[in-house]
Symmetry: C2
Subunit: 557 residues, 2 copies
Amino acid sequence: MTVIALLQLDPTVGDIVGNVALVEEAAAKAAEAGADMAMTSELIISGYPPRDMLMDTSFVAACEAASMEVKSPIPLLIGAPLSAEKNRHKPFNGVVRVADSRIPKIVGRKQLLPTYDVFDEGRYFQADDGPGIDRSLPGASVGITICEDAWQHIGEVPSDYAADPIEQLATWQHQGEPLAVSVNLSSSPYHLSKEGIRAKLVRKAASTLGHPFLLCNQVGGNDDLLFDGRSIAGWPDGTIVQGPAWSTGILLIDIDRPNAASWIPLDANSFKLEIVAPNEQPTFPPKGHDLLSAVTMGLADYCHKSGIEKIVLGMSGGIDSAVCAAIACDAVGPENVLGLAMPSRHSSNHSIEDAKVTAEVLGMELQILPINDIHSSVDETLDDELESGHPVAKENLQSRIRGTLVMGAANARGAMAIATGNKSELAMGYCTLYGDMNGGYAPLGDLYKTEVYEVAKAINSRSTGNPPITESTMTKAPSAELAPNQKDEDNLPAYTVLDPILEDWIERGIRNPSPLTGEILARLHANEHKRWQLCPAPRVSNRAFGQGWRQPLASRR
Amino acid sequence: MTVIALLQLDPTVGDIVGNVALVEEAAAKAAEAGADMAMTSELIISGYPPRDMLMDTSFVAACEAASMEVKSPIPLLIGAPLSAEKNRHKPFNGVVRVADSRIPKIVGRKQLLPTYDVFDEGRYFQADDGPGIDRSLPGASVGITICEDAWQHIGEVPSDYAADPIEQLATWQHQGEPLAVSVNLSSSPYHLSKEGIRAKLVRKAASTLGHPFLLCNQVGGNDDLLFDGRSIAGWPDGTIVQGPAWSTGILLIDIDRPNAASWIPLDANSFKLEIVAPNEQPTFPPKGHDLLSAVTMGLADYCHKSGIEKIVLGMSGGIDSAVCAAIACDAVGPENVLGLAMPSRHSSNHSIEDAKVTAEVLGMELQILPINDIHSSVDETLDDELESGHPVAKENLQSRIRGTLVMGAANARGAMAIATGNKSELAMGYCTLYGDMNGGYAPLGDLYKTEVYEVAKAINSRSTGNPPITESTMTKAPSAELAPNQKDEDNLPAYTVLDPILEDWIERGIRNPSPLTGEILARLHANEHKRWQLCPAPRVSNRAFGQGWRQPLASRR
């Protein structure tokens, strides 16, 4: 009987001291619970992704030294950046084994360095040329891989790697190296279509290797990247144990008895592990619920890790701001959230009423600050320009006045403003730069409008009392209320039409536009400028906006 | 006698049709002028850097096809992305040779892929394993390298490459391949401390190879990246010909007679080439003048390539906005620039007068829009929050009101707002998010305050009439004028003290702060949030803000 503890933790990027403390506390608990060995996720000491901090050799040296000094009563595999070899430039993404009675030792270094999509590891790391091994457990050597190392084996990588580390481990076995189990330290980001792929991965690896394959994943949000946890173990017969999502804890795996697996929670969440029979698939919550957990953890971690305790947001009575208010109340507590309803001459009374109900049900503060006086005063000052200029200038003014008030209240309270926009409107430029785009974080920035409705339903369905998002907010036609009787559908296709087109273009890279999408794409192209200035938004899709997502310019001739 | 034409051009990223036209026009002129062969800079067909467009296989295929179809009366070496090999994912960064009477041919593919700093080529390209060669010229084969390929030879790369393509070319020669000349297609970005390094590079390569080495560089701005041109040729004896900076044209090099080199300008600039004797160094203009050329080309290209014809900016009477106004007038013409002076209750009369003189000398429009009424109206609306809140909220209000007016005028006129802030204040967070940081481009965003003064002097010194930047603007103590009698030095060290500290930290990565820098660094850390939302700023230093530049968070324990 060998029990291995998968420490599913939520590290803060750059906080070496704090991350070490998380690991030590969890390793001690795992030992108490009877584990023979424990493992962390990838780069737990630096947190993932450490990005350009890795170019600071003193940071890497500090991470390596800290990992060697971690206290653990049982053998513990720790993911950490490791200093470059002599006369070389780039560090390694490695694994250090510590234990009470043994000298700390480097037991693995990553071979496959993903350098696509959100990953830039080729920029930061030197690749090693073989998998790792640890022989701490008597008679039960452990094969060691790090994240991408295991993905080549199921063909789920868009890169041309020269090696397949899982095959290499299998070769070692054939050559007589007795491996009892292999592990994978991961920081595998969340996105919607990833469901079930990790199950495929651990099943295939376990089947090839003929022994259990254990994957420990990071959990939590670091800026725009979200990690869902869901650490997972697979056996050669196809049995799977999947740990909970969106929560920290210890997944105890007896490598000989899948059914003996258990979960020790380290936070207040009540998610459970799942044991899945060989021919079945692990279950996932409905999309709206999973997205809600994802973006709530994203905002909560962004605040917590940045020392932000309070949130201010504009509340229009529309669906986006209502959903953001609910998420903010969950993330930092309703007593720390201020909503501002800022009616203009174009606002409906209904909108204020909806915002009031939402705030009241959530238990947060709402202030009503009419902007008519400011609006008139700005109109007068800019009169000459506005009269002769493009009408969008007038519409944007209202949004920018609101943005100024939101920021004013946020600065006064030492709070962070959040931007309430969604991915559909951001893609189309149907939003105002320095207006409703203001904020340090955009919880819905990677959710299409149709997905925002699914999240809204999840919020209402989990509510025990009155639903925070009113029936009227759920059903009224989306409107920016910046001109009399304005509706989004006056300027955009219906979101049920628009969103699939945007998804094809942005997520799937489909490049054969119909006449309708041609018009939409022209607007997508024209909004490069706005996307450049987006604040971080938690990433839930295959392709978010952000680094690198750029469209060709039209020909200038 | 063999004459090779270096086509120093300014491509637009993504504009395949326009870039092909630039190349064809220049190649025809080069042939007319007697060139036997011509060459472009790196990736001229896509423009550099094409970034994630390279992940679109149809874009890469279109670039490759377009490069094969370029019309040229003489053999022409063209830099272009080339499609991936069968069953492989990543494209190549290659060279296509076309000529009137020959079948187009791939003659080189880049070996060393820089993946650090502003470069991410390991993300996008597959590396080849040898340099290229072209045998179009009778009896005078041409060795071909692409940008980074030549830099390993002088040790100026922070990566661990396995090969040195210059040595490989030398080996080919020893093995009997008769090379008459070697070339390098470059897109080598500008930064201040790069002066003279390219001279070292072509001298060393020519000396190793025993024949001339010709480097053709891209010129112009693409978003935040600037390319200074300065295409250059070196001979084994150390003679150098350096082409002009910041201008498009054709550098004609007779490989047997350095003194016969000539420059055919393709724009109105009057810069000249320079022939440098073996023991001398090429000259460079004074720092302020070179920076002025750099950021002016950056803004002009950003506007031109994005279809922006007009610019709006706030003018406070301070040095930053005065310098930005002068740059904007140069970039799009004074008739297309609108300045807004927006005095508040804290503004000095002097400030308005200085702004007026600057606008008048530059010949641009200035509107004076007092913000007192709007200010009072916002104050009243937010009264409760402001009275009890952090005093910075009140100061920021003025900046955000101004930002709203600048954006209102810009939207009304279909113009782009520019942000006037400098790197010192952006680093320290001494600026207002959604206020003076508003704008689509920040011409001074990578210049320290002390460098802004050098640029100001360059602007005045080149002026033939009255200096656009007044003596008072040059000499008064910097002030945000957001509180009575406020001076920057009340909140920050003097810029002559601050800037060297920031340079040490940001450019040189020096990590041993004194107590004074400790306080400064705490502020640097705290401003991550603002930097995330910066608009593009032309890069002139070793390390700008932007992708990847992140500081460790403080420990949360």
